[in-house]
Amino acid sequence: MSTASLPRHIHVELQGHKGPVNVARYAKGSAKYILTGGQDRSVRLWNASLGTEIKAFNAHGYEVLSISVAHDNAKFASSGGDRSVFIWDVATGMTTRRLAGHMGKIHVVEFNEDASVVASGSFDSTVRLWDLRAQNRAPIQILEEARDAVQTLHVDSTTIIAGSVDGHVRTYDLRKGELRSDYIGHPVTAVVPTQDSQTFLVTTLDSHIRLMDTTNGKMLNDFTGHSNSSYRCRACFNHGESTVVIGDENGMVWAWDLLDAKLLQPNPPPKAHNKVITWTEYHPSDAGEMITSSADGTCKVWRHPT
């Protein structure tokens, strides 16, 4: 049960953004570092265990809405209100590419496994797939099936999953050459698949989190109790994928058991942030660490009390 219980002890608090923090992502590998992007147009790199700010990446002209880190931690991509995807070199802190083409703000950006392609989903209801190998700056392909803003993307080795405000989760299967669109019925803000990609977790704006079956589109579980009706919140699994975690609009972090969809104690949970929690992410390898970022301008690293 210790693995199931959430880390609810603040390890460090990352303060430095002057405004809401929109996204906080772990670096790849051993994930010792955190990248946060905020409304103050900056991307900041933090040491997760010490809580020190290592670097600030300033090139965006608008808010930063999404960050994706490449597999080798050498570069990351960020996007936001300035309608282009920025590819950064982490060491130099300079942008190596700026991929323009979207007609609206880019809500989400995601690398593929070997960071040869970056996918970006935008308010203009398209997903653009950009090639990072070639010099060509035009997108490889534009996925225009969505009828409303694309809020979330997940790219793995063979599929691209896009969640849109039109209430659909669209799975583009490259191997089969087919598009499976699952109608959820409510604006989708986050899609997080499990490790085996047999199921995926869909966060929607009707304060529900649904666990959907990838193969047939059936709903396996429904998690409710939190409040999420107008902001982008992100539900994720814990390390062992036994728990579903979300930080909601009231600044509380909720957790459910995956199988029986029961709320874990404490219920109701204590307030973790003063404002809406914009991003919740579990440490990819450490079972006892997670991060939340909030509109109150902070990003918090949670651990079990030692």
Binding site: N112, E113, S116, V117, S125, L129, D131, R133, I140, Q141, E144, A146, R147, D148, S157, T158, V165, D166, G167, Y172, D173, L174, R175, K176, G177, E178, L179, R180, S181, D182, Y183, I184, G185, H186, P187, Q198, T199, L205, R210, L211, M212, D213, T214, T215, N216, G217, K218, M219, L220, D222, S230, Y231
Partner: protein
């Protein structure tokens, strides 16, 4: 003839020098010179053989060894004077006397001479029409004078360069230098001179200076003075007006008598300079200089000699009035309010104009303003007018309609004699019985179709151009919130798009003709407005991806939850709307996620994307066979054809031929789906008709590497009776291959035969395989126990493995290499037990009704075996 042509002719075997080749067929005009003699000047000469020559025929460019680009002193290389063969120096000292003096022009070349000529040119350099030479040319044409004489003439006579006006004036007696006008006396002329020179003020001594010369001069009349050409100097500096450079301070202040202007020498012509020692000769003076000080040089004689003036003046006489000298404050006066006028201003004698006032007209006594009277009057005038107009307009039509009298009847009433050759109707030749019978039939028809009773005008609605209608069909649909209207709009467009379509719109039962006409008008207008852009503009805009679908679609982040805050009326409405929800939304509402909410479409990832992801391209060939169900842009095959038989069609007044025939094929289509299918392909489409993925997917999953073709052996095993009855076999027209997408591949004959014979069976096999695949995945998936078909899954999962084993064994036995196309044949031939199939269908049947309806449509969307060959 060119050398090339000659060569060609020579190659052919024609003797170019023979008379036949050079035969002349020229009857009119000058024949071309014969072949041998002429060299075509336009003939191609390679660049290095071309020669550049100047206007005198000298070679212009010389090679590097002969002097370079432009060799010698002005290209004299090679000529007699050329520097390349230096002449021996001969002293001219001895014959200096014999040598005439050289002028600068002797040392000038053409360009310098041209410069001088240009600098001497008068201001007007435009070429004048040469009338005389033109006449000459005409005369030459007419009389055919020897060209030699004309050449001589032109050489001898000086060219006339006068303008036409000048020539006419000359003929009238005018000379160069004279003015235009009647001749005047000496006195008058002198006066003119004085006026022109501006020294009239000094005319006090004019009378005294009359001397004896003038007596003689008075005896003659003179031509008037030439009017000096006023050349306004261009002001290209930033000095003030009247300032000249070099002005002394005194001059600047206005005082006369600065010696600057007198010391200035005469202007020298700019052609070529004078030497330091040369004096300015008269010839060197620039007589065309615009300066006004040299006016006298234009005059035939000295103006100072002129005497007694008479009061004749050309142009505007100079006013003798001097400006008011020494204005004093006393003359200025004061304003009316006593304030003094500013110095330098004068009080105007005239007062400022005032507005004129007119007296009021006389009002009759006892008159009171009463606007009501005026209004009532005007209304009273307007109303009878309107009525009259209405009556006039409507009377005849209605009367005719009401009386139902034919022209012949009316004529008989009026007592007219019928026209002798009146066109006779067919009915006139019929017997009375037949006519009655026809009338009966007509009456019964009319009574059975009360809808047809309203008089249908032949062409009541405005026509829309077929092209526009066709474009508008694919374009934006303007009435998404009103499905009936939308459907009618589409029907209208279709009726307009193809002229011979059987779709016609009838007015709705509760609609009057006028309303119907206005509706048609609206449709035609919106067709013009909403047709998509074409041509170059089309690429610049993209149509909105989000279309307003009325109230029921919930989009955007901040959606008010409208279900809770509705009162009872709204709830009732909600209940009415409930059946209009698409099956998908309905499923979501009751939480039945799964096959109802899932939609699977083929999707073609870009080739490069597959490469980057390290995935094999799922459809390497271009996609085959345009599937009608996947083409939303085809307007005719969309919602209308399939939904023609639904009862709602008759309700909304769309009459199609198929509607009349009553051919029922449609599924559970409701009004909400009608007409919306084109905008949103997800709507109105049954969720269960899914696309079969391409062969390669199956190949990738099922086909092992060493599989070989044994389809012909195992194919006959298939028992057709094993097919589940719910799946009707596909229609037998599947031999038709699309020419556009057909690709010949090499397949062994027996395999192909087997494929064609057992195509239907295989098709079902494919379907089964597909389902099995799905089910197998289900077993791996998250919640296994919940699945309805769980018990049958075990059977299904095992089957393919067995088959693969068998195949492998076979492959080991034969060890033959077979083209890959056959592999997908033999992976379907194995017969499958029906159990899994049936149970699956059963499980499907337990679902809600729309699904069942969709199941009947399944065979339509499937691909046939032929397509995979």
């Amino acid at each position: 003839m060119t050398s090339r042509l000659k060569k060609k002719l020579g190659d052919i075997g024609v003797d170019t020098s023979s008379t036949r080749a050079n035969e002349n067929f020229c009857l009119i005009g000058t024949p071309l010179p014969p072949l041998e003699k002429s060299r075509d000047t336009g003939e191609f000469v390679p660049l290095w053989k071309q020669e550049v020559r100047d206007e005198k025929g000298r070679r212009r460019l010389h090679g590097a060894f002969t002097g370079g680009f432009s060799a010698g002193y002005f290209n004299t290389v090679g000529s007699k004077e050329g520097l390349m063969d230096p002449q021996t120096f001969v002293s001219s000292r001895s014959d200096r006397a014999t040598k005439k003096a050289t002028k600068p022009e002797d040392f000038m070349d053409e360009e310098d001479l041209q410069d001088i000529r240009d600098s001497r040119k008068i201001v007007d350099t435009t070429d004048e029409l040469d009338l005389a030479s033109g006449a000459q040319a005409e005369g030459q044409d007419q009389t055919g004078v020897d060209p030699l004489t004309t050449a001589l003439q032109s050489a001898m006579l000086p060219p006339s360069k006068d303008s036409v006006g000048a020539r006419i004036l000359k003929k009238m007696g005018w000379r160069v230098g004279q003015g235009i006008g009647p001749r005047i006396t000496f006195k008058q002329r002198r006066l003119q001179d004085l006026q022109a020179s501006g020294s009239l003020s000094a005319g006090t001594d004019m009378d005294t200076s009359l001397d004896e010369e003038s007596e003689e001069a008075n005896k003659h009349t003179y031509a008037p003075r030439d009017t000096p050409v006023l050349i306004v100097e261009r002001k290209d500096n930033s000095h003030g007006l009247g300032y000249r450079s070099g002005m002394s301070l005194n001059e600047r202040l206005g005082a006369k008598g600065g010696g600057g202007s007198t010391s200035m020498g005469p202007k020298i012509a700019s052609g070529f300079g004078l030497g330091a020692l040369n004096d300015a000769d008269e010839d060197d003076l620039d007589i065309y200089e615009g300066g006004s000080s040299n006016l006298r040089s234009r005059l035939a004689y000295d103006a100072a000699d002129d005497h007694d003036g008479e009061t004749i003046s050309l142009g505007k006489p100079k006013s003798n009035l001097k400006p008011v000298a020494g204005p004093s404050t006393t003359t200025h006066g004061t304003f009316r309010d006593g304030r003094a006028v500013l110095p330098g201003f004068l009080l105007s004698a005239q007062s400022v104009m005032e507005d004129r006032w007119y007296p009021l007209p006389d009002i009759p006594p006892g008159w009171k303003p009463d606007p009501k009277r005026v209004w009532s009057q005007s209304q009273g005038q307007a109303n009878p007018d309107k009525e009259n107009v209405k009556q006039n307009d409507s009377m005849p039509q209605e009367k005719w309609k009401a009386s139902k009298l034919s022209a012949a009847e009316r004529g008989s009433i009026l007592g007219e004699t019928p026209l002798p050759s009146a066109p006779r109707s067919v009915f006139d030749f019929m017997s009375q019985k037949d006519r009655e019978r026809l009338q009966n039939i007509a009456a019964s028809l009319l009574s059975s179709h009360p809808l047809m009773l309203p008089p249908r005008c032949d062409n009541p609605h405005p026509r829309t151009d077929p092209q526009i209608a066709r474009a508008a069909l694919g374009g934006f649909q303007p009435f998404p919130s009103n499905p009936v209207k939308q459907a009618r709009y589409r029907a209208y467009l279709q009726s307009q798009a193809n002229v011979d379509s059987e779709i016609t719109l009838a007015p709705l039962p509760h609609q009057s003709i006028a309303e119907f006409n206005s509706e048609m008008e609206e449709y035609s207008q919106s067709a013009i407005v909403f047709k998509p852009m074409s041509g170059a503009m089309a690429g610049r805009f993209t149509s909105a991806a989000v279309v307003e679908h009325g109230p029921k679609v919930v989009e955007g982040l901040h959606t008010p939850s409208f279900t809770e805050s509705k009162d009872s009326d709204a709830e009732q409405k909600e209940k009415e709307k409930e059946p209009e929800l698409s099956p998908k939304e309905h499923a979501v509402r009751i939480g039945m996620y799964g096959s109802l909410t899932r939609e699977v479409k083929p999707w073609q990832p870009a080739k490069l994307l597959c490469k980057r992801f390290g995935v094999k391209d799922p459809n390497p060939e271009p996609t085959t066979e345009p599937d009608p169900s996947t083409h939303p842009q085809d307007p005719t095959s969309s919602a209308f054809d399939s939904s023609a038989a639904t009862p709602s069609m008759a309700d909304i007044g769309i009459i199609t031929s198929s509607n009349v025939g009553g051919a029922g094929s449609g599924g559970p289509r409701d009004l909400a789906n009608v007409g919306l299918g084109d905008d949103d392909e997800t709507q109105g489409r049954d969720t269960l008709t899914y696309e079969r993925p391409s062969v390669d997917v199956f190949k990738a999953i099922f086909a092992s590497d060493d599989e070989d073709s044994t389809s012909s052996v195992s194919a006959p095993v298939v028992v057709p009776s094993a097919v589940a009855p719910s799946l009707a076999p596909a229609p037998p027209d599947d031999q038709v291959v699309d020419i556009n997408t057909f690709k010949p591949t090499f397949v062994r004959r027996e395999a192909r035969m087997a494929a064609t014979i057992d195509s239907e069976k295989k098709e079902k096999k494919e379907r089964k395989e597909k389902k099995e695949k799905k089910k197998r995945k289900v077993t791996v998936s998250f919640l296994d126990g919940d699945d309805e078909g769980g018990d049958s899954l075990n059977v299904v999962v095992e089957k393919p493995k067995k088959k693969r084993k068998k195949d492998k064994e076979r492959g080991k036995e034969k060890e033959t290499k077979v083209p890959a196309t056959i592999d997908d044949d033999d992976m379907w031939v194995e017969k499958q037990p029906v159990t899994g199939q049936v149970s699956h269908v059963d499980s499907e049947m337990t679902n809600s009704t729309p699904q069942g309806a969709a199941a009947t449509e399944m065979p339509k969307g499937r691909k046939r075996a032929v397509d995979f060959l």
